[in-house]
């Protein structure tokens, strides 16, 4: 009996890895190849650079979102954090002069950036405390905090962008570097480094193990001595921090802190995580899938532009992607009886 039970486990995890691992990667490659062939504009270095930049910002947000969703939660405040952190950093850099483009007695970015990042982590931790210690629904808490942050960004920026001039650090952070003759945006490199760190954290550290344990069975984790509240709070803090980092990147690239900087990033990040194979119910998934999801979304986004899809219709595409992603999630978990694809084969246990 034992051997056969394992065989089920193997065949299941094999089927799952085909659907959730290799599958999306192959789709991604196919998409990129199709765009490459069909659109000369897509092949231009500028276009690739732009996709890389966009992928970097979404990637940072989605990395934090991956942690949160792995615990079975969700963070809807991330796009507001992108805007908020950008506005805060821009104000710190540009001083009190919000209407002009001059730096008037502001802080250097090496002061402004850490402050904005710390605020991001702190507010994220606040989300975590509300979700854990006060047992509030993460969906509503982060939706509320999203409004607070967006509103704050709007008020602080008086409704328009706060323009800055990049100093050396910000210039470096948002610049590009030649790797083997190819000019690669530094934000993308930073994002990839963050992904490697996330991967190590998830796979090699106690914190990572606890993240999966909480998503798999929070009660069992707590009764095994895992400080579930502390860990979850830290995870929301990470999400806030990474969203703030994305906010800095976006602000630096646009040379403007504005409340629109993070628009659409929440839904896109959730979509990227889910497309990447992380279950919305938590406990299953990983960081590399999310990265694939991020690039997929960016390719669809870019593809629509090069296919002359009207830019006003972008929202439709984003909405469709998130709905599709969640559909993929439910199909993948075999939650639709008539669409099980015979992958799970049912539960043989008694």
């Amino acid at each position: 009996m034992t051997e056969s039970v394992t065989a089920v486990g193997r065949s299941r995890s094999f089927a799952r890895s085909v659907v959730s691992g290799a599958g999306p990667a192959l789709v991604l490659i196919a998409m990129a190849a199709a765009l490459w062939v069909m659109s000369p504009a897509f092949r231009s270095p500028t276009s690739l650079m732009l996709i890389g930049l966009e992928a970097a910002a979404l990637g940072l947000v989605a990395a934090g979102q991956t942690f949160v969703i792995l615990t079975g939660g969700i963070d809807l405040s991330v796009e507001a954090m992108v805007s908020f952190a950008g506005v805060i950093a821009a104000i710190l850099i540009a001083g009190t002069n919000v209407s002009g483009g001059q730096i008037a007695g502001g802080f250097p970015s090496w002061v402004a950036i850490p402050i904005a990042l710390a605020l991001g982590a702190l507010i994220g931790a606040g989300n975590g405390v509300l979700v854990t210690a006060f047992r509030m629904n993460p969906l509503i808490v982060t939706l509320g905090v999203r409004s607070i942050l967006l509103g704050s960004a709007l008020v602080l920026s008086r409704g328009s962008g706060i323009y800055i001039k990049k100093d050396d650090l910000l210039g470096l952070l948002t610049g590009r570097v030649d790797v083997l003759g190819v000019s690669v945006p530094i934000p993308l490199i930073v994002t990839l480094i963050i992904y490697v760190i996330c991967w190590i954290v998830l796979k090699q550290t106690k914190f990572g193990r606890y993240t999966y344990a909480i998503g798999g069975n929070e009660t069992a984790a707590r009764l095994s001595g895992v400080r579930t509240n502390l860990n979850k709070t830290a995870i929301y803090a990470i999400s806030g921090f990474l969203a703030a980092l994305a906010g800095i990147m976006v602000m630096g690239r646009l040379e403007s802190g504005a409340y629109q900087n993070g628009t659409n990033l929440t839904l896109m990040s959730v979509a990227a995580v889910v497309i990447g194979g992380t279950a919305l119910t938590g406990g299953i998934g990983g960081i590399w899938g999310t990265l694939i999801g991020v690039f997929m979304i960016r390719l669809v986004d870019a593809g629509l532009v090069y296919m002359s899809f009207p830019s006003q219709a972008k929202e439709i595409m984003i909405g469709a992607i998130i709905v599709l992603a969640v559909l993929i999630d439910t199909v993948r978990r075999g939650q639709i009886p008539w669409l099980t694809l015979r992958l799970r084969g049912g539960d043989p246990g008694d």
Binding site: S4, G208, G215, A220, L223, G349
Partner: protein
């Protein structure tokens, strides 16, 4: 729309042959041949017990009958016609209703609303609540002897009464065959007695019951015939009267399980745990007891007596309003499970799947979950040490897993319990609290769990065992504490403890034994 309350004898009462025949049913899951040509028939108005160890294929067979799975081979003849239900709804409409262990009721809805859920009566465009309530009340009182207001939210009823509502729902669907999967698992003795009365009366009305239970005594008490499955194959279908406990166990496990006293008394040493005046208002009051090294302290009582709540509080899983806990004579303050674990206390919860294990984790990850912090000083995990530790426990407790990477969800109940136990032994717990240690665990694995408990006390550990199974309490405990209404009502030594004495204390009201209650408790031996 099924509008009438089924009254009296079912439509098949005249038939003398079986109402249901399952012929050579085959079912494969990836890698598992779950059912191998299993045949079984059900006569009108019989109680048919289906027994077998975990993984024998009972649930799979019943899920085929209930329309959850489609068989890969074989045929089912029901009322003389081929029967191929595509969905659970189709099976129910055909008159085959399953009552699962986890009841399918909406707690917030009323009794009548639950009974008529999905088959509401209408008058014009509106719901006809008056008729639905009246018929629900009639059905409950005449057929199920349950006198509840049909407007009561189901969540306010006890588990036993909720189960009656499920039965009522089945009758409303004019069920000819009711499948009960472990119906007694969370019932008190009295509720079990009530349920059995109802099942016998259904039999009189021509309704057949297929009854799955791990409690062999229930099989003997209730069933007319017994079908035994083992490893997905039919072993036998026999009139229950021709069986004995020993012969039935032998059929189930395929070997003789020596019937002997599972307890090996250990040398009882110093006091290890002392609890004084533990109170959570409205749940348990003034609970005091001690437990010594090498001792098994049994915590007996009916469901709802507060036993689980007390041990959870000792473990720091729930807060207390008052009381003190001493370990090795020193007062300790335990605010959360982490604190309890640091003081060497472990809790094996009654529900392993929802509270004890991370089902998505593999065997190794579950075993090391509580000790990751101790394994390394750094933030990183140490996989090679984890593997070593897991291998040690897989060997020591004879955990039946193909390898350490097998997900916990694919393990049998007994093996899962061993994995949870390994987690606590790895954490070097010296006071081990078992809450319903063998619930849902088959006969063979039960004996193994008892043997492990013997080994633990032999090496000087302390065991506190909450159990609703009196034979288990009597067999394993050195001392029995009986709880009722949130208080400890009495303490019995191993020599003093008998089923009668325990039930006497467990059914006492306000501390005074109630003779009327006692007489209705079925002797379950």
């Amino acid at each position: 729309m099924l509008a009438t309350v089924p009254a009296g004898v079912g439509s098949t009462a005249t038939a003398t042959g079986p109402i249901l025949e399952m012929r050579s049913i085959d079912k494969r899951f990836p890698g598992v041949h779950a059912l191998v040509g299993v045949s079984m028939d059900v006569l009108p108005g019989e109680v048919h017990a289906l027994v077998g160890e975990n993984g024998a294929g009972k649930s799979t067979l019943m899920k085929i009958l209930a329309g959850v799975y489609a068989p890969d081979g074989g045929e089912i003849i029901y009322k003389g016609q081929p029967y191929t239900p595509r969905t659970p709804g189709a099976a129910r409409d055909a008159g085959i209703v399953t009552i699962y262990q986890e009841l399918n009721l909406v707690p917030e809805l009323s009794v009548a609303e639950n009974m008529y859920l999905g088959m509401e009566l209408e008058r014009g465009p509106f719901l006809d609540w008056q008729t639905m309530r009246r018929r629900a009340r009639e059905l409950l009182s005449t057929r199920l002897h349950l006198d509840v207001d049909p407007r009561t939210p189901v969540g306010r009823l006890g588990v036993g009464q909720q189960q009656m509502v499920e039965v009522a729902k089945a009758l409303l669907h004019e069920a000819d065959i009711i499948i009960m999967d472990e119906p007694t698992a969370s019932l008190s003795l009295r509720e079990i007695a009530d349920l059995f009365t109802i099942v016998r009366e259904l039999r009189g009305h021509g309704v057949s019951t297929i009854f799955i239970s791990h409690h062999l005594d229930e099989t003997f008490e209730l069933s007319d015939r017994t079908t035994v499955l083992r490893d997905g194959q039919l072993v036998s279908t026999t009139p229950t009267a021709d069986l004995t406990t020993a012969s039935l166990i032998q059929l189930m496990v395929g070997r003789d399980l020596a019937e002997h006293d599972p307890k090996k008394p250990a040398e009882i040493g110093q006091e290890v745990l002392r609890v004084e005046g533990l109170t959570r208002h409205g749940v348990f009051e003034d609970v005091s007891f001690t437990a010594r090294a090498g001792e098994v302290v049994g915590l007996a009582g009916l469901v709802g007596a507060g036993r689980t709540e007390v041990v959870r509080a000792i473990f720091g899983a729930d807060p207390i309003d008052a009381g003190r806990v001493y370990i090795q004579g020193e007062e300790v303050s335990i605010k959360n499970p982490r604190g309890a674990i640091d003081h060497g206390i472990a809790l094996l919860t009654e529900d392993r799947k929802s509270q004890g294990l991370v089902l998505l984790f593999d065997v190794r990850e579950n075993i090391t979950l509580a000790i990751l912090d101790k394994l390394t000083g750094s933030q990183f995990t140490d996989r090679s040490r984890e593997r070593e530790i897991a291998a040690g426990f897989i060997d020591r407790l004879a955990i039946k897993a193909a390898n350490q990477e097998q997900p916990a969800m694919n393990l049998s109940g007994g093996t899962q319990q061993k994995v949870v136990l390994s987690k606590w032994l790895a954490a070097e717990a010296r006071v081990i609290i078992f809450d319903e240690p063998t619930r849902g665990i088959d006969v063979g694995a039960k004996a193994e769990i008892y043997e492990i408990m013997n080994e633990l006390v032999a090496q000087g550990d302390t065991i506190i065992m909450v159990s609703s199974e009196l034979p288990e309490i009597l067999a394993m405990s050195d001392r029995v504490l009986v709880m009722q209404g949130g208080r400890i009502r009495g303490e019995l030594s191993r020599a003093e403890a008998t089923q009668e004495r325990i039930m006497h204390l467990a059914t006492a009201s306000n501390g005074r034994p109630d003779e009327a209650d006692l007489t209705e408790v079925p002797a379950d031996d």
